[in-house]
């Protein structure tokens, strides 16, 4: 989320530079997506372009719909950059829509409140900002930057938005910003239908009926590993686990890891097992004392294309280094079983309740974006290249002092 917000700042700053260089007007901007990224882009635009009008299009019925009410997910701005500098710092330190670590629901509430400060300051009682919610249709015609849509325009009441009657229209914009995020997780027609990662659950809570239950977590990205941790580690907290594991040695271990630049290594298993093996002995031993007694967890890790066949396959760049470290530590503790067969075989073998099977296979981000376009086939090569190269590094490129921050 932080990365997306940084990109929003960078993008608006670059638009500012373009406008100063007379490289095209920035007057009518459409933002597809009313999540945190879309709101950040809108607030940046409204506060730096005095005469821009911004239109936000959001499919759901409220802003930041994924994170609203999400009490079991913890958001931290940069923890997935660990062991990088400032990765543990709780505050995002962003000039626009800044936030500190917390429950996703609290972060979302705070960001929407701050967004309302920007709208009150920079778009009061004017047509500078329009928000459409509950979109039943949206198509982008890229060639002429036209958007056709059907939805309901809102009238804001501070941080809350009332919707009007449905309407449909087609309009041209000089700039269209895609902030539709990763979308919702892929759901198959399989019997196992896992609620969205952002929906509340009880994975982190001990069972209260004295039983020991079997759980299957299918996947090996960040979402899956977080759920693996919640199911295997007693009282697991993403924000405190590093302090608990390493204690007063944390900064030293961090510095040592940093020296190896682990987020750039294609597979970190050797780093964890061999290079840093001895340094991690105490950490592993500590974690071994905290394993949950009421769960038996199977990590189904074959991947959606069943390409994984052994444990080392799980330590590539498919998740953050932090989560790969935790995965390694749990493996060393013998905290879970791992399976590389089909999900059906795992379920057949271990017989979990189907409600205890969690598919964390990510989203089809590219598919979600392509669905927005009337001419998706012609857009696909460019978007595919963007996805493959992943060159959108979250460096803060804007000149300091570009954006006002309201609290």
């Amino acid at each position: 989320m932080y990365n997306q917000q940084v990109r929003a700042h960078n993008l608006v700053w670059s638009l500012l530079e373009r406008s100063k260089a007379d490289m095209g007007p920035i007057e009518r901007v459409a933002i597809i997506g009313g999540g945190i990224t879309g709101l950040t882009a809108a607030a940046c635009l409204l506060s730096t372009f005095p005469s821009v009008s911004v239109t936000i299009f959001e499919r759901q019925w409220d802003l930041c719909p994924l994170q609203q009410g999400s009490d079991t997910r913890w958001l931290h701005p940069r923890i997935y950059e660990w062991p990088g500098y400032e990765s543990r710092a709780p505050n995002a330190s962003l000039p626009v829509l800044n936030w500190s670590e917390g429950r996703a629901s609290d972060v979302a509430r705070e960001l929407i409140r701050k967004f309302s400060l920007y709208t009150a300051e920079y778009a009061p009682e004017t047509d500078r900002l329009r928000i459409y919610l509950g979109l039943s249709h949206l198509r982008i015609h890229a060639a002429n930057r036209q958007i056709e849509w059907m939805g309901r325009r809102t009238a804001d009441q501070g941080p809350f938005f009332r919707v009007g009657v449905p309407e449909g229209s087609t309009e041209e914009f000089d700039t269209i910003i895609l902030a539709s995020g990763f979308g919702l997780e892929r759901q198959s027609l399989h019997a196992v239908a896992t609620p969205s990662y952002w929906r509340n659950d009880q994975l982190g809570q001990p069972l209260l009926n004295g039983s020991r239950q079997v759980y299957v977590v299918s996947g090996y990205g960040d979402g899956a590993i977080v759920d693996l941790c919640r199911l295997t580690i007693e009282r697991f907290r993403q924000d405190t686990i590093l302090y608990e594991i390493f204690g007063s040695n944390l900064e030293d271990i961090e510095a040592e890891f940093r020296g190896h630049n682990p987020n750039r290594i294609s597979n970190v298993l050797d780093l964890l097992q061999i290079t840093m093996g001895k340094d991690l002995t105490d950490a592993v031993s500590y974690l071994g004392k905290r394993l949950r007694k009421d769960t038996q967890v199977i990590l189904h890790a074959s991947g959606t294309t069943t390409k994984n066949t052994a444990l080392p396959d799980l330590f590539g760049q498919t998740s953050s280094f932090l989560n790969r470290f935790l995965l390694y530590a749990l493996y060393r503790c013998g905290a879970f079983s791992v399976s590389f067969g089909s999900l059906e075989d795992v379920i057949r073998q271990y017989q979990p309740l189907l409600s205890n099977v969690f598919r964390r296979h990510g989203t089809d981000a590219l598919g979600n974006v392509l669905d927005l376009f009337a001419n998706a086939s012609s857009m696909k090569p460019a978007l595919q290249a963007l996805q493959n190269h992943r060159n959108q590094a979250p460096e803060r490129l804007w000149v300091p002092g570009t954006f006002p921050h309201l609290t």
Binding site: S14, E17, R18, K20, A21, M23, Y85, E86, R88, A89, P90, N91, S93, L94, P95, N98, S100, E101, G102, R237, D239, T240, Y243, E251, E395, R396, L397, V399, P400, G401, T402, F403, P404, H405
Partner: protein
């Protein structure tokens, strides 16, 4: 900011080449502000007892790095003034800015030197201001300045105390500088202790060293001198000042 070639291969070079920053401050964690305000208020009280009725200001700047670039950032409000002006908190400055820039570069305490008469001082002050294109001196332009760098365990500058006052030769007094420096030493000892025994939910998060962002120096070269008889206060356990409060 003028016209730019946006097809330049390295946008960071483009950014570094721009003179000046935007008009707005960047965020400063409130915990970092609170970490230094009580100390500054004690220094303010010390100054006030000798300067009753005289206008002065005192604040702290920290060395802040963002994505490989190092700036000075005003860490908190100015104390000593009647108004509480929060809009200055988070101001970003190049490391060559004014007396704090000289203190940063030389890693020394820098202060306005002793003058025999106010008239001599004002002549030099105006010349220094002319060098910086600052226009005519106003009647309330401070006439005595002080910058005390706090060094980290690697000898790098971590923060800089800044003070100015409309009192002739105020900071030319060696004894006064020594007292203030002693207070700074106390702050260093406290923060070193806190680094060894941190509060669970209040921590200092290290900042990475970066490339200093420099512009034309604007320190007053005639007016100001380094203090060579006093070593700057030094943290033994910190190399940056970035306190934040966490949830747990």
């Amino acid at each position: 900011m003028g016209t730019r070639n946006l097809s330049a291969p390295n946008i960071k070079d483009h950014q570094m080449a721009s003179r000046g920053f935007g008009p707005f401050p960047e965020p400063v964690p409130v915990a970092s502000q609170l970490a230094v305000l009580p100390f500054l208020s004690a220094v303010e009280g010390f100054i006030r007892q000798d300067a009753a009725g005289t206008k002065f200001r005192i604040t702290m700047h920290r060395v802040m790095t963002r994505d490989g670039q190092t700036y000075l950032q005003q860490l908190c409000v100015y104390l000593g003034q009647d108004q509480w002006n929060g809009s200055v908190v988070g101001r970003i400055l190049p490391v060559t800015e004014g007396i704090i820039g000289r203190s940063f570069e030389h890693k020394k305490i820098v202060r306005t030197r002793f003058y025999n008469t106010p008239e001599e001082l004002l002549v030099d002050l105006q010349k220094d201001m002319d060098d910086n294109n600052e226009g005519q001196r106003k009647s309330d332009t401070p006439v005595s300045y002080l910058a005390i760098p706090f060094l980290g365990y690697d000898g790098q500058v971590v923060a800089i105390l800044y003070a100015d006052i409309e009192h002739f030769n105020f900071f030319a007094d060696d004894q006064r500088i020594a007292y203030i420096k002693a207070m700074c030493d106390g702050m260093c000892r406290l923060f070193d202790r806190l680094q060894e025994n941190p509060f669970p939910t209040l921590r200092n998060y290290p900042l990475q060293q970066g490339e200093p962002v420099r512009e034309e120096p604007t320190g007053y070269r005639r007016l100001q001198e380094p203090v060579n008889t006093l070593e700057p206060p030094t943290f033994l356990k910190l190399d940056s000042l970035n306190y934040e409060a966490s949830a747990a």
